[in-house]
Symmetry: C2
Subunit: 127 residues, 2 copies
């Protein structure tokens, strides 16, 4: 199976350490040492995680003396976002059904249920 960009991005994201690294990078460049600090993990382990992120195009690096600062490149996330949008309607419908069910529970036996504005999110799509 030819591993494409979406595969690389999603499997990079599937690891909590790597997501935490990306989160650190949202506030700016960080060296490997800085990135490694919050984790109970050796430097080589962090280096490896960074490489996975780099291959997925989620991290870019430069050089500053002995340091190799990393910065976030979020562009590949757009592809994930686009993929997931195909399913938005599907999950909104199911959440609506849940909402409707809860509401029904509430109003049952109370005689004044106000269900009208519930369970009707189908056309509330983000532009």
């Amino acid at each position: 199976m030819t591993t494409n960009q979406l595969d690389r991005t999603l499997s990079a994201l599937a690891d909590p350490t790597r997501r935490a690294i990306l989160a650190q990078l949202t506030s700016g460049e960080r060296t490997v040492t800085e990135l490694a600090e919050p984790f109970e993990m050796t430097m080589p382990a962090v280096t490896k995680h960074i490489k996975v992120l780099e291959k997925a195009g989620l991290v870019e690096r430069s050089r500053d003396a002995q340091k190799r600062p990393c910065r976030l490149r979020a562009a590949p996330l757009k592809e994930v976002s686009d993929w997931i949008e195909e399913y938005r309607q599907s999950w909104e419908e199911s959440l609506d059904r849940l909402g409707g069910y809860l509401q029904e529970l509430q109003s049952t036996g109370r005689g004044h249920g106000r269900k009208e504005h519930i369970g009707s999110r189908k056309n509330k799509r983000r532009k």
Copy 2:
């Protein structure tokens, strides 16, 4: 590392076979045999993929005689969507920079470049 819901969802999605299974389920319920048909893979292999999706809460199953129809449960994708939204501004900025660069290429040497709004996003940092 305690594997949470987001981990399970993302690693389930990181496999192209499993994403293809989800795609098949968008048009309705499917049996394991039907789901397996497009793949060059044995049934047990598909059964395993379905189990991964099931544990991530992305697929739910019922019973119809010997058949075990699968249906899509897209709700866990909302969590992925919410996670990724945190990065939207970040990737939109970088795509803007790319757009700006292309625009700059176009206008260079034409005598009426409108570069003012280009390449000047340094202080547009996320709150």
